[in-house]
């Protein structure tokens, strides 16, 4: 058999020649596809819908930037949009309390005594149960007539306080309920972080006579920076997308004073009385811009850190 050997480069297919470059993209393709279809494209769709007036059923009417103009006037008149935006800011600030609270519990639980695994699980438990359940439990807790909170206050001759019925307290009441699972989340992040703390550095700190708060501030916390960063990111995002608790506990009430942007968007576009898709999309765009600000900041600081590491 004398067959003229063909040179390998000729038989090799185009794919074979380029597989080093292509394979990663092939593996990424499903992810990219779904990310594009379900995340990227809808962003642009939201932008475009926000320029229309549309009830979701009939034909859409192009109105330019009128939806944004309406939002602006709602802001100036201190109407629903203003309230939502204000509540979003309150959420952002108050929700961050979950980070120190989580850190505190993590430090407290980071010890070896009998049954510590059980205690850790119990502290982590609220994060596992559904937000809906958390909301229900807390609305019973706050109930002005039968709730535990008012029975408790009654012992000291205080109250009753209708937390969820008072337009000044309602947002704080909901945030407090939200902090319960969020603290558990931050706690678990810090617990894993604490596992990675270098014992030698602690030893060295001890030799230099560091203890208590000084030890925490100068030796432990710097090593927990990655955990803090992640906790910060998830808490900020969690605060901006707060929706379930509001929907369960108050439905945005009383008279719309516990709305946040995410809930307001749902209300005008998709709820029982909502038929303003364009307006809802405009709110979504505003929310997107705010989130984008944070996300850009996070990406930038992550980038800077990686650069610094090299």
């Amino acid at each position: 058999m004398s067959v003229t050997p063909t040179t390998p480069t000729e038989t090799r297919s185009w794919y074979y020649r380029n597989q080093q470059a292509i394979t990663p993209w092939l593996f990424l393709a499903p992810g990219i596809l779904f990310f594009a279809v379900y995340v990227i494209v809808p962003i642009f769709q939201s932008f475009s819908i926000s320029l229309y007036e549309w009830d979701g059923l009939g034909t859409a009417e192009y109105v330019g930037l009128r939806n944004y103009e309406d939002l602006y006037w709602e802001f100036v008149d201190r109407d629903a949009f203003f309230v939502s935006l204000k509540n979003n800011v309150i959420w952002l600030v108050m929700y961050l309390l979950a980070i120190p609270a989580g850190l505190f519990i993590a430090l407290f639980l980071n010890q070896t005594v009998t049954g510590i695994r059980l205690y850790k699980s119990l502290f982590f438990f609220p994060f596992v149960i559904s937000q809906v359940v958390v909301g229900l439990v807390f609305s019973w807790f706050y109930d002005p007539t039968f709730g535990l909170l008012n029975s408790f206050l009654g012992v000291f001759g205080l109250g009753p306080v209708n937390v969820l019925g008072n337009e000044n307290l309602v947002t704080y009441g909901i945030i407090f309920a939200g902090l319960w699972p969020q603290t558990a989340y931050c706690m678990i992040l810090y617990l894993t972080g604490l596992n990675a703390v270098d014992p030698e550095q602690i030893e060295a700190g001890r030799l230099d006579n560091a203890k208590g708060l000084k030890m925490l501030w100068y030796i432990i916390l710097p090593q927990l920076r990655p955990a803090t960063f992640i906790a910060f990111v998830v808490t900020i995002i969690g605060a901006l997308r707060s929706f379930d608790l509001i929907s369960i506990m108050t439905g945005g009430g009383p008279f719309g004073s516990s709305r946040v942007l995410a809930y307001y968007m749902f209300e005008v576009a998709l709820s029982e009385y909502g038929f303003r898709m364009g307006y809802g999309a405009a709110i979504a765009v505003v929310l997107f811009v705010i989130m984008m600000g944070f996300i850009a900041y996070f990406l930038w600081s992550m980038y800077r850190e990686e650069k610094g590491a090299h």
Binding site: L57, D70, N162, G165, T250, G251, G253, F255, Y273, G274
Partner: protein
């Protein structure tokens, strides 16, 4: 061979003829979507559908029951994609978005049939948009004041026949350490009921409808008068405290426990009140009394309806189902006390012998000359209903903010009606 086939065919024909005594031979699938998710209405509907199935054995009926609140948002999806053949909804303005989007089938042909035209005349108006009918009603119910008769007797009070008596009663009840009325405004619409009655009694049905249609300013003196009447009750302490935190169901215990003496509600409140242990000796009903003697009494009587989506695939069977639902016998059956416990829409049906149904039927048929409204959130456009009911709730909590609230509603009016 041929004779055998003939035989078989003949046998088949006779057997189907025996099985289906009703003339219409319906087959294929019939998909029915219901929002009657509460236990009693659900059982009623399922029993009714099984009776329809018996009449049309060849029809493959598929029933889907969706949670009543969830239904209100899901309807927009299922009317456009994966459409059922029959769906429940509400009358008047509440069906307008779907009618205007061409998603409901025009069923004027059914309304032209004598059987329906003659017997359902009273609800025709509520089903009509642009001179055409877009569905059929299957039940309606009265609104009014349900009250604790034993408490009234204890305090020596009687059913009020005018606004002065109404307020005097209320004052007596408040003085006895109770609230006159329980209400839970968390989901807003209950406050809409109060507004309906106060405004219809103060300014009349026509004015009320003009307001719902956006023809009158919210800052009009007459609207203010309605709120002033409301404010009298609020300042008196007529309503239970913290109502903004409760749903209408959560407000029931106040009445059951005797902490509140009455409830302005639809007739559907009777069933849970009875279940909670109130007997008919303790519970009674009166029509909301006149406030302004110059306007005729008008009532709220929301109508629940069946529609055929425009994209339905088996419209013939769907039409037959609609005919079946409004037939006199079915109407008597599904609206009786053991089932929906509401009023039948067919004039030839009989009203079940229930104290509240009889009073309601009497009231709506002879003592509501001004007209019959559907309910605020069905008469006003959805957006306006939402904004205004939020305003009503705020007003009930902070009555002194009235001017600010009305200014906000007036701004909303300028935006919503064009």
């Amino acid at each position: 061979m041929r004779s055998m086939i003939k035989c078989a065919v003949a046998a088949l024909v006779t057997s189907t003829a025996l099985a289906g005594p009703v003339s219409a031979e319906l087959n294929g699938d019939l998909k029915i979507f219901l929002d009657t998710s509460n236990p009693a209405p659900r059982a009623t509907m399922e029993a009714m559908i099984s009776r329809f199935q018996e009449q049309h054995p060849d029809l493959n009926i598929e029933t889907t029951v969706i949670d009543r609140e969830a239904y209100k948002t899901q309807i927009r999806n299922f009317l456009t994609a994966d459409t059922p053949d029959v769906a429940t909804w509400y009358a008047a303005n509440r069906m307008r978005p779907y009618v205007e989007a061409g998603l409901f089938e025009d069923v004027s042909d059914l309304w032209a049939e004598p059987e329906i035209a003659e017997n359902l005349a009273s609800t025709k108006g509520a089903m009509t948009i642009d001179g055409k009918q877009w569905g059929v009603p299957y039940t309606y119910y009265q609104w009014g004041v349900y009250y604790r008769k034993d408490i009234y007797e204890e305090l020596g009070l009687s059913e009020p026949s005018n606004w002065e008596e109404f307020k005097a009663n209320c004052q007596a009840i408040v003085d006895s350490g109770r609230a006159c009325f329980t209400i839970g405004t968390k989901f807003l619409w209950t406050a809409g009921g109060w507004f309906d009655y106060l405004n219809m009694r103060t300014n009349g049905f026509d004015f009320h409808m003009d307001l719902a249609a956006g023809k009158v300013s919210w800052e009009d003196e007459r609207v203010k008068q309605t709120f002033m009447n409301w404010k009298e009750l609020i300042d008196m302490g007529a309503f239970v405290e913290n109502h903004q935190t409760y749903s209408w169901q959560e407000a029931l215990p106040f009445m059951v426990n005797g902490e509140a003496a009455g409830y302005l509600m639809g007739n559907f409140a009777v069933a849970p009140l009875r279940e909670a242990g109130l007997t008919d000796d303790q519970l009674d009903f009166y029509q909301f009394p006149a406030i302004n003697a110059d306007v005729e009494l008008a009532e709220d009587a929301p109508t629940d309806t069946f529609h055929i989506p425009a994209n339905a695939s088996n419209k013939e069977a769907a039409r037959e189902f609609l005919r079946f639902v409004v037939s006199a016998d079915e109407q008597t059956e599904i609206n009786n006390g053991a089932n929906l416990g509401q009023l039948p829409v067919n004039a030839k049906s009989s009203v079940d012998d229930d104290k509240f149904l009889n009073q309601g039927f009497e009231m709506l048929s002879s003592n509501s000359p001004g007209g019959v409204a559907q309910f605020w959130d069905r008469d006003a456009p959805a957006e306006m209903a939402k904004v205004s009911m939020e305003g009503f709730q705020e007003f009930m909590v902070k009555p002194d903010e009235l001017d600010k609230i009305l200014a906000k509603l007036e701004r909303a009016r300028g935006r919503i009606y064009k």
